[in-house]
């Protein structure tokens, strides 16, 4: 009983009260910041400021709570320093991720809401946290990527700039008039409301392929209409080329057995000969 009576319960209750008050006030302040910033700033800045305000208030109240409990701040900071070094050695990966996270915040290669590509993963950034960045992929998967990976690897931000260029490869038969097809494609870009008038769309001949002349059809679209733009213009290309009688070839394979060999004999079987189809090859010579 002497152990319990020796404890200064009043101080501990005050400390706990201060900690709880800090958490409550921090949450309330963070919510107010979110409400205030939501209409005035980007999602990224709102989240960053909300976290900053929350942690600032919680840390201030935590310091006050420690003082109230009778801890000297110098000793606490010293202990924290030693603990940090010890933890740092024990968990280098986490420390590396935390520092990488700071670099990501300073360098700002992407923001919350951006569409990024990391290695083979494409997704919308839904969170930039202490250890990792969270993505939501177009097929609605949740992907967590450590901050260290993002610092080391190539990151493509697909929505940094307001407009994007789409490059489509269109193959046409060798017999077709390239200039006519070029005019046709440019006409489609002009009619499609998703394609921007400026920068101007253009067509390049990129290769004489195995079975087609390959054209690159490039046009610009707003960043939020990439899928719509690509799909609608591809449908329009197919319809227009079909309407104009322009052939889109598929790979053809010819078998050539040498100049002295006889050509292969190809015979079209009529309905009357179909019955023979059922006879196995081994039985034919009998």
């Amino acid at each position: 009983m002497a152990v319990f009576t020796g404890v200064a319960w009043g101080q501990w209750v005050s400390s706990i009260f201060l900690m709880v008050l800090g958490l409550v006030l921090g949450s309330l302040a963070a919510r107010s910041v979110t409400r205030f910033m939501a209409q005035r700033s980007t999602r990224h800045h709102t989240v960053m400021l909300r976290r900053f305000v929350f942690y600032l208030i919680v840390v201030l109240f935590a310091i006050a709570a420690l003082r109230e409990a009778g801890f000297s701040l110098d000793i606490v900071l010293g202990a924290a320093g030693i603990l940090t070094v010890a933890i740092g050695f024990a968990s280098q990966t986490s420390a590396s991720n935390m520092i990488s996270g700071l670099f990501l915040l300073v360098e700002k290669p992407f923001e919350i809401g951006d569409f990024i590509e990391v290695d083979a993963t494409i997704g919308e950034v839904i969170g930039i946290d202490m250890l990792s960045v969270k993505l939501r992929t177009p097929d609605n998967l949740y992907v967590r990527i450590p901050n260290e990976t993002l610092i080391k690897t190539r990151v493509v931000n697909r929505s940094r700039f307001p407009i994007r260029r789409l490059d489509l490869t269109v193959g046409i038969a060798y017999a077709e008039d390239v200039e006519r097809v070029e005019a046709l494609l440019l006409g489609l870009a002009e009619k499609n409301p998703v394609c921007l008038e400026e920068p101007k769309p253009f067509v390049l001949v990129t290769a004489f392929g195995p079975s087609s002349v390959d054209l690159q059809f490039s046009f610009w679209v707003p960043k939020d209409k990439v899928l719509d733009g690509r799909s609608s213009i591809m449908v329009a290309i197919k319809k227009a080329l079909d309407r104009e009688g322009v052939e889109i070839p598929f790979p053809h394979t010819s078998i050539y057995a040498g100049s002295h060999s006889e050509p292969f004999r190809v015979q079209l079987l009529g309905p009357e000969t179909i019955t023979e189809k059922e006879i196995p090859d081994v039985d034919k010579d009998r």
Binding site: F161, P162, I163, R165, P193, C195, L196, E197, E198, P199
Partner: protein
Amino acid sequence: MGPETEGRRDGVWAKPYSLASGQTQSHQLGHVNLWVTLLDREWQIRSETLEVETDPVSWSETIGHTLPSKDVSLQRFIRSEGSDTVTFIPAVASLPTVIRPYQPLTIPAGEQCVIYVGTLVWMQVCVGDGRTVLTEVPLAVPSLTWVGRNTMEGELCYSSASVARLVLEAVPKRPWRAVTPVTIINRREEPLLLERFSLPTPMLSLYLNERGQLWTPGVTVECETDMNSASLHVDQTVFAAAGKCQQVGLAREKVSRGRFVRAFDRMFG
């Protein structure tokens, strides 16, 4: 002449039309066909965009009980008790509009001119006495373009090819386009080649004159030493030649200083 044709009238902006339950009001305006149907508990709005060779100059309106085919896209809205009126309010484009004269125009040093440009308007379908906006429809398919120093810095804009007429009488009066008189003053010592310019349409309000034509206040652009020092000014009142006007649509954006700088900074591409 059938009953449909007999009831055909000219459509009017900002005039409340009363409908009875089950009635459909159809409009043919610009490149759009629009049907507004009043039912006991809901409003139905159907619209389709037409591919027309020449720009229509009239707006016809009919009230009947005929609905279009099911292929036409339908929007449904809840209707509160007693609201049986529908009003059509014009609205300016939500993005700046780039005006590109078919033939570039040169303004010699020290000269000034007034160009009349027509810009596309959106039709807001408003219901009830409070004019609650249900939806808005562009009266032709707007095309997009980019104005800026490069593909990184700049602004998305709507595009409008224009004859850039210098004589008011030659300007076609279409109820689905608003006329803006743009005064360009060249104070430089060199000629100014006007290939295209960005009109800050979201900052313009809309006025309707007695002949049913839409006008916006005039815009004055003054070029001093170089393009970047050009100043842009939106008039407070409508051009006198528009005649007696009443305001029918508000500007989408207030004229802010920052926006203003950007607008004239990119005025000439």
